[in-house]
Subunit: 155 residues, 2 copies
Amino acid sequence: MISKSCDMKLSRRTEDYLEAIYHLSESRGYTRVKEIAEHLGVKPASVSEMLSKLSNKGFIVYEKRLFVSLTAEGRKVAECVRERRETLVKFFVMLGVPRKIAEEDACIMEHVLHKETMTQLRKFVKFVEDSPADPMWLSHFREYCESGVHPCIKS
Amino acid sequence: MISKSCDMKLSRRTEDYLEAIYHLSESRGYTRVKEIAEHLGVKPASVSEMLSKLSNKGFIVYEKRLFVSLTAEGRKVAECVRERRETLVKFFVMLGVPRKIAEEDACIMEHVLHKETMTQLRKFVKFVEDSPADPMWLSHFREYCESGVHPCIKS
DNA sequence: TATATAATTTAGGCATGCCTAATTCAACGT
DNA sequence: ACGTTGAATTAGGCATGCCTAAATTATATA
Protein backbone atom coordinates (compact mmCIF):
# COMPACT_ATOMS: atom_id res chain seq x y z
CA MET A 1 0.00 0.00 0.00
CA ILE A 2 1.60 3.17 -1.20
CA SER A 3 1.25 6.08 1.17
CA LYS A 4 -0.49 9.00 -0.42
CA SER A 5 1.73 11.96 0.27
CA CYS A 6 0.59 15.56 0.43
CA ASP A 7 1.44 16.39 -3.10
CA MET A 8 -0.58 13.51 -4.50
CA LYS A 9 -3.00 14.89 -6.99
CA LEU A 10 -6.45 14.86 -5.43
CA SER A 11 -9.43 16.74 -6.70
CA ARG A 12 -10.05 20.12 -5.16
CA ARG A 13 -13.29 18.92 -3.74
CA THR A 14 -11.74 15.84 -2.21
CA GLU A 15 -9.32 18.04 -0.31
CA ASP A 16 -12.12 20.37 0.72
CA TYR A 17 -14.13 17.53 2.19
CA LEU A 18 -11.15 16.07 4.03
CA GLU A 19 -10.26 19.41 5.50
CA ALA A 20 -13.84 20.00 6.55
CA ILE A 21 -13.99 16.63 8.25
CA TYR A 22 -10.67 17.32 9.93
CA HIS A 23 -11.93 20.62 11.24
CA LEU A 24 -15.31 19.34 12.36
CA SER A 25 -13.87 16.28 14.08
CA GLU A 26 -11.48 18.25 16.22
CA SER A 27 -13.65 18.34 19.31
CA ARG A 28 -15.41 14.95 19.32
CA GLY A 29 -13.16 12.91 17.09
CA TYR A 30 -15.89 12.42 14.54
CA THR A 31 -18.45 14.45 12.64
CA ARG A 32 -21.71 13.96 10.80
CA VAL A 33 -23.17 14.46 7.38
CA LYS A 34 -25.26 17.46 8.30
CA GLU A 35 -22.34 19.36 9.74
CA ILE A 36 -20.19 18.74 6.71
CA ALA A 37 -23.01 19.86 4.46
CA GLU A 38 -23.41 23.10 6.37
CA HIS A 39 -19.70 23.74 6.49
CA LEU A 40 -19.28 23.30 2.76
CA GLY A 41 -22.57 24.85 1.73
CA VAL A 42 -23.93 21.80 -0.06
CA LYS A 43 -26.89 19.49 0.56
CA PRO A 44 -26.59 16.39 2.76
CA ALA A 45 -27.32 14.17 -0.22
CA SER A 46 -24.18 15.42 -1.92
CA VAL A 47 -22.14 14.78 1.19
CA SER A 48 -23.42 11.23 1.43
CA GLU A 49 -22.28 10.53 -2.06
CA MET A 50 -18.85 12.02 -1.59
CA LEU A 51 -18.35 10.16 1.66
CA SER A 52 -18.80 6.85 -0.11
CA LYS A 53 -16.06 7.82 -2.51
CA LEU A 54 -13.71 9.05 0.20
CA SER A 55 -14.32 5.86 2.09
CA ASN A 56 -13.53 3.70 -0.93
CA LYS A 57 -10.32 5.62 -1.37
CA GLY A 58 -9.36 4.96 2.23
CA PHE A 59 -9.40 8.53 3.48
CA ILE A 60 -12.20 8.20 5.98
CA VAL A 61 -13.88 5.74 8.30
CA TYR A 62 -17.51 5.95 7.39
CA GLU A 63 -20.07 4.15 9.49
CA LYS A 64 -23.16 4.80 7.45
CA ARG A 65 -25.87 6.78 9.22
CA LEU A 66 -23.67 7.03 12.29
CA PHE A 67 -20.42 8.94 12.03
CA VAL A 68 -17.48 9.97 9.91
CA SER A 69 -13.86 10.31 10.87
CA LEU A 70 -10.49 10.43 9.15
CA THR A 71 -8.03 7.60 8.64
CA ALA A 72 -4.35 8.38 9.18
CA GLU A 73 -4.11 8.86 5.42
CA GLY A 74 -7.00 11.29 5.38
CA ARG A 75 -5.64 13.21 8.31
CA LYS A 76 -2.30 13.58 6.59
CA VAL A 77 -3.95 15.13 3.56
CA ALA A 78 -6.09 17.42 5.68
CA GLU A 79 -3.13 18.64 7.67
CA CYS A 80 -1.19 19.45 4.54
CA VAL A 81 -4.07 21.37 3.11
CA ARG A 82 -4.58 23.26 6.31
CA GLU A 83 -0.92 24.20 6.55
CA ARG A 84 -1.01 25.47 2.99
CA ARG A 85 -4.07 27.51 3.72
CA GLU A 86 -2.65 29.06 6.83
CA THR A 87 0.46 30.08 4.97
CA LEU A 88 -1.61 31.62 2.22
CA VAL A 89 -3.83 33.54 4.58
CA LYS A 90 -0.86 35.01 6.42
CA PHE A 91 0.70 35.90 3.17
CA PHE A 92 -2.31 37.69 1.74
CA VAL A 93 -2.91 39.51 4.97
CA MET A 94 0.68 40.72 4.94
CA LEU A 95 0.03 42.11 1.51
CA GLY A 96 -2.96 44.04 2.76
CA VAL A 97 -5.78 41.83 1.56
CA PRO A 98 -8.75 41.98 3.98
CA ARG A 99 -8.76 38.87 6.15
CA LYS A 100 -12.09 37.51 4.98
CA ILE A 101 -11.10 37.73 1.34
CA ALA A 102 -7.66 36.36 2.10
CA GLU A 103 -9.33 33.33 3.62
CA GLU A 104 -11.58 32.75 0.66
CA ASP A 105 -8.76 33.00 -1.83
CA ALA A 106 -6.57 30.79 0.29
CA CYS A 107 -9.35 28.19 0.21
CA ILE A 108 -9.04 28.01 -3.51
CA MET A 109 -5.30 28.30 -3.91
CA GLU A 110 -4.51 25.76 -1.24
CA HIS A 111 -5.47 23.11 -3.76
CA VAL A 112 -3.78 24.24 -6.89
CA LEU A 113 -0.35 25.76 -6.43
CA HIS A 114 2.81 23.90 -7.29
CA LYS A 115 4.90 22.88 -4.36
CA GLU A 116 7.70 25.17 -5.52
CA THR A 117 5.38 28.14 -5.32
CA MET A 118 4.11 27.14 -1.91
CA THR A 119 7.71 26.80 -0.78
CA GLN A 120 8.53 30.35 -1.82
CA LEU A 121 5.41 31.72 -0.21
CA ARG A 122 6.22 29.86 2.97
CA LYS A 123 9.73 31.28 2.95
CA PHE A 124 8.42 34.75 2.35
CA VAL A 125 6.02 34.56 5.25
CA LYS A 126 8.75 33.24 7.48
CA PHE A 127 11.16 35.88 6.25
CA VAL A 128 8.78 38.62 7.26
CA GLU A 129 7.90 36.98 10.54
CA ASP A 130 11.57 36.48 11.36
CA SER A 131 12.40 40.09 10.72
CA PRO A 132 13.59 41.82 13.87
CA ALA A 133 10.98 44.57 13.75
CA ASP A 134 8.13 45.49 11.46
CA PRO A 135 10.22 45.73 8.30
CA MET A 136 10.76 49.16 6.84
CA TRP A 137 9.90 48.10 3.32
CA LEU A 138 6.59 46.73 4.52
CA SER A 139 5.57 50.04 6.03
CA HIS A 140 6.76 51.66 2.84
CA PHE A 141 4.54 49.31 0.94
CA ARG A 142 1.56 50.14 3.13
CA GLU A 143 2.25 53.82 2.62
CA TYR A 144 2.50 53.21 -1.10
CA CYS A 145 -0.85 51.45 -1.06
CA GLU A 146 -2.45 54.44 0.62
CA SER A 147 -0.82 57.27 -1.24
CA GLY A 148 0.17 55.69 -4.51
CA VAL A 149 3.60 57.25 -4.10
CA HIS A 150 6.73 55.28 -3.39
CA PRO A 151 8.25 56.77 -0.22
CA CYS A 152 11.77 56.34 -1.58
CA ILE A 153 11.15 58.64 -4.50
CA LYS A 154 8.81 61.20 -3.03
CA SER A 155 11.58 63.76 -3.39
CA MET B 1 -27.52 44.51 -23.53
CA ILE B 2 -25.52 44.64 -20.37
CA SER B 3 -21.80 44.81 -20.87
CA LYS B 4 -19.98 41.92 -19.23
CA SER B 5 -17.22 43.49 -17.22
CA CYS B 6 -13.98 41.76 -16.28
CA ASP B 7 -15.13 40.70 -12.90
CA MET B 8 -18.21 38.95 -14.27
CA LYS B 9 -18.14 35.39 -13.09
CA LEU B 10 -17.19 33.18 -16.00
CA SER B 11 -16.07 29.60 -15.75
CA ARG B 12 -12.36 29.03 -15.63
CA ARG B 13 -12.50 27.20 -18.90
CA THR B 14 -14.45 29.96 -20.60
CA GLU B 15 -11.71 32.40 -19.71
CA ASP B 16 -9.04 29.96 -20.84
CA TYR B 17 -10.63 29.60 -24.24
CA LEU B 18 -11.09 33.32 -24.67
CA GLU B 19 -7.52 34.03 -23.76
CA ALA B 20 -6.30 31.32 -26.11
CA ILE B 21 -8.33 32.76 -28.95
CA TYR B 22 -7.05 36.22 -28.13
CA HIS B 23 -3.48 35.02 -28.23
CA LEU B 24 -3.84 32.95 -31.38
CA SER B 25 -5.67 35.70 -33.26
CA GLU B 26 -3.00 38.28 -32.65
CA SER B 27 -1.26 37.89 -35.97
CA ARG B 28 -4.07 37.18 -38.44
CA GLY B 29 -7.09 38.50 -36.59
CA TYR B 30 -8.65 35.09 -36.42
CA THR B 31 -7.76 31.56 -35.47
CA ARG B 32 -8.95 28.00 -36.04
CA VAL B 33 -10.20 25.04 -34.11
CA LYS B 34 -7.07 23.00 -34.51
CA GLU B 35 -4.83 25.73 -33.15
CA ILE B 36 -7.00 26.28 -30.12
CA ALA B 37 -7.05 22.55 -29.47
CA GLU B 38 -3.27 22.37 -29.59
CA HIS B 39 -2.83 25.44 -27.44
CA LEU B 40 -5.12 24.15 -24.73
CA GLY B 41 -4.15 20.51 -25.01
CA VAL B 42 -7.62 19.20 -25.81
CA LYS B 43 -9.16 17.51 -28.84
CA PRO B 44 -10.71 19.50 -31.67
CA ALA B 45 -14.09 17.99 -30.91
CA SER B 46 -14.03 19.58 -27.47
CA VAL B 47 -13.11 22.93 -28.95
CA SER B 48 -15.97 22.76 -31.41
CA GLU B 49 -18.41 22.26 -28.61
CA MET B 50 -17.05 25.06 -26.50
CA LEU B 51 -17.02 27.46 -29.44
CA SER B 52 -20.75 26.99 -29.90
CA LYS B 53 -21.27 27.98 -26.31
CA LEU B 54 -18.95 30.97 -26.47
CA SER B 55 -20.70 32.07 -29.61
CA ASN B 56 -24.13 31.82 -28.00
CA LYS B 57 -22.86 33.92 -25.14
CA GLY B 58 -21.65 36.58 -27.52
CA PHE B 59 -17.94 36.31 -26.84
CA ILE B 60 -16.81 35.18 -30.25
CA VAL B 61 -17.67 35.41 -33.91
CA TYR B 62 -17.76 31.84 -35.06
CA GLU B 63 -18.15 31.05 -38.71
CA LYS B 64 -18.45 27.28 -38.54
CA ARG B 65 -15.69 25.39 -40.34
CA LEU B 66 -14.04 28.65 -41.30
CA PHE B 67 -12.71 30.84 -38.53
CA VAL B 68 -13.03 32.11 -35.02
CA SER B 69 -12.43 35.60 -33.66
CA LEU B 70 -13.36 37.61 -30.62
CA THR B 71 -16.17 40.11 -30.26
CA ALA B 72 -15.43 43.32 -28.39
CA GLU B 73 -16.92 41.67 -25.34
CA GLY B 74 -14.73 38.62 -25.68
CA ARG B 75 -11.65 40.70 -26.21
CA LYS B 76 -12.37 42.66 -23.07
CA VAL B 77 -12.51 39.48 -21.04
CA ALA B 78 -9.34 38.11 -22.63
CA GLU B 79 -7.43 41.30 -21.96
CA CYS B 80 -8.43 41.29 -18.33
CA VAL B 81 -7.38 37.71 -17.92
CA ARG B 82 -4.08 38.34 -19.61
CA GLU B 83 -3.33 41.35 -17.47
CA ARG B 84 -4.06 39.32 -14.37
CA ARG B 85 -1.79 36.58 -15.51
CA GLU B 86 1.07 38.90 -16.32
CA THR B 87 0.82 40.46 -12.89
CA LEU B 88 0.82 37.05 -11.27
CA VAL B 89 3.81 35.83 -13.22
CA LYS B 90 5.86 38.89 -12.35
CA PHE B 91 4.87 38.52 -8.77
CA PHE B 92 5.83 34.87 -8.47
CA VAL B 93 9.08 35.44 -10.25
CA MET B 94 9.90 38.24 -7.82
CA LEU B 95 9.37 35.76 -5.04
CA GLY B 96 11.81 33.35 -6.58
CA VAL B 97 9.45 30.87 -8.20
CA PRO B 98 10.97 29.43 -11.39
CA ARG B 99 9.42 31.13 -14.40
CA LYS B 100 7.85 28.04 -15.90
CA ILE B 101 6.11 27.14 -12.68
CA ALA B 102 5.14 30.75 -12.08
CA GLU B 103 3.43 30.72 -15.44
CA GLU B 104 1.53 27.56 -14.76
CA ASP B 105 0.31 28.74 -11.39
CA ALA B 106 -0.60 32.11 -12.82
CA CYS B 107 -2.72 30.29 -15.40
CA ILE B 108 -4.81 28.85 -12.65
CA MET B 109 -4.97 31.80 -10.30
CA GLU B 110 -5.81 34.30 -13.00
CA HIS B 111 -9.33 32.90 -12.90
CA VAL B 112 -10.05 32.62 -9.25
CA LEU B 113 -8.69 35.44 -7.12
CA HIS B 114 -10.91 38.15 -5.74
CA LYS B 115 -10.40 41.54 -7.25
CA GLU B 116 -9.20 42.87 -3.90
CA THR B 117 -6.43 40.31 -3.87
CA MET B 118 -5.45 41.05 -7.44
CA THR B 119 -5.36 44.72 -6.56
CA GLN B 120 -2.89 44.15 -3.74
CA LEU B 121 -0.72 41.90 -5.86
CA ARG B 122 -0.72 44.50 -8.59
CA LYS B 123 0.30 47.17 -6.13
CA PHE B 124 3.03 45.00 -4.75
CA VAL B 125 4.50 44.35 -8.17
CA LYS B 126 4.37 48.01 -8.98
CA PHE B 127 5.86 48.91 -5.63
CA VAL B 128 8.86 46.72 -6.31
CA GLU B 129 9.18 47.87 -9.89
CA ASP B 130 8.98 51.51 -8.82
CA SER B 131 11.70 51.10 -6.26
CA PRO B 132 14.74 53.19 -7.11
CA ALA B 133 17.17 50.27 -7.08
CA ASP B 134 16.91 46.57 -6.47
CA PRO B 135 15.37 46.84 -3.01
CA MET B 136 17.54 45.82 -0.08
CA TRP B 137 14.87 43.71 1.52
CA LEU B 138 14.49 41.74 -1.68
CA SER B 139 18.16 40.81 -1.76
CA HIS B 140 17.84 39.98 1.89
CA PHE B 141 14.97 37.72 1.04
CA ARG B 142 16.96 36.02 -1.68
CA GLU B 143 19.80 35.52 0.73
CA TYR B 144 17.37 34.15 3.27
CA CYS B 145 16.06 31.71 0.70
CA GLU B 146 19.56 30.43 0.06
CA SER B 147 20.95 30.34 3.55
CA GLY B 148 17.86 30.01 5.69
CA VAL B 149 19.21 32.78 7.87
CA HIS B 150 17.74 36.24 8.05
CA PRO B 151 20.56 38.68 7.24
CA CYS B 152 19.30 41.15 9.84
CA ILE B 153 19.81 38.72 12.68
CA LYS B 154 22.83 36.80 11.57
CA SER B 155 24.76 38.41 14.41
C1' DT C 1 -41.84 0.27 24.01
C1' DA C 2 -44.00 2.61 20.22
C1' DT C 3 -43.92 6.45 17.45
C1' DA C 4 -42.73 11.00 15.71
C1' DT C 5 -39.01 13.55 14.06
C1' DA C 6 -34.84 14.52 12.25
C1' DA C 7 -30.83 12.73 9.84
C1' DT C 8 -29.31 10.10 6.12
C1' DT C 9 -29.30 7.58 1.90
C1' DT C 10 -30.91 6.36 -2.76
C1' DA C 11 -32.69 7.29 -7.20
C1' DG C 12 -32.94 10.00 -10.99
C1' DG C 13 -31.39 14.39 -13.13
C1' DC C 14 -28.56 18.25 -14.66
C1' DA C 15 -24.31 21.05 -16.06
C1' DT C 16 -19.63 21.25 -17.38
C1' DG C 17 -16.03 19.52 -20.06
C1' DC C 18 -13.53 16.02 -21.95
C1' DC C 19 -13.09 11.82 -25.15
C1' DT C 20 -13.51 8.54 -29.45
C1' DA C 21 -15.60 7.30 -33.72
C1' DA C 22 -18.07 8.45 -37.53
C1' DT C 23 -19.51 11.88 -40.65
C1' DT C 24 -19.44 16.15 -43.28
C1' DC C 25 -17.39 19.76 -45.72
C1' DA C 26 -13.89 23.40 -47.61
C1' DA C 27 -10.26 23.96 -50.42
C1' DC C 28 -6.40 22.49 -53.11
C1' DG C 29 -4.32 20.38 -57.04
C1' DT C 30 -4.96 18.43 -61.43
C1' DA D 1 -15.01 20.68 -62.57
C1' DC D 2 -13.96 17.02 -59.31
C1' DG D 3 -11.88 14.10 -56.29
C1' DT D 4 -8.79 13.86 -52.35
C1' DT D 5 -7.58 15.16 -47.99
C1' DG D 6 -7.33 17.25 -43.77
C1' DA D 7 -10.11 20.12 -40.74
C1' DA D 8 -14.26 20.44 -38.26
C1' DT D 9 -18.65 18.81 -36.50
C1' DT D 10 -21.94 15.55 -34.55
C1' DA D 11 -23.28 11.65 -31.85
C1' DG D 12 -22.84 9.06 -27.97
C1' DG D 13 -20.23 8.36 -23.62
C1' DC D 14 -17.84 9.20 -19.27
C1' DA D 15 -16.45 11.52 -14.76
C1' DT D 16 -17.19 14.88 -11.29
C1' DG D 17 -20.24 17.11 -8.30
C1' DC D 18 -24.32 19.18 -7.35
C1' DC D 19 -29.59 19.06 -6.79
C1' DT D 20 -34.62 17.48 -5.49
C1' DA D 21 -37.79 14.09 -4.02
C1' DA D 22 -38.70 9.90 -1.99
C1' DA D 23 -37.52 6.22 1.01
C1' DT D 24 -35.13 4.66 5.07
C1' DT D 25 -33.44 4.52 9.79
C1' DA D 26 -31.72 6.18 14.41
C1' DT D 27 -33.08 8.34 18.32
C1' DA D 28 -35.52 10.94 21.60
C1' DT D 29 -39.90 11.46 23.72
C1' DA D 30 -44.25 10.11 25.40
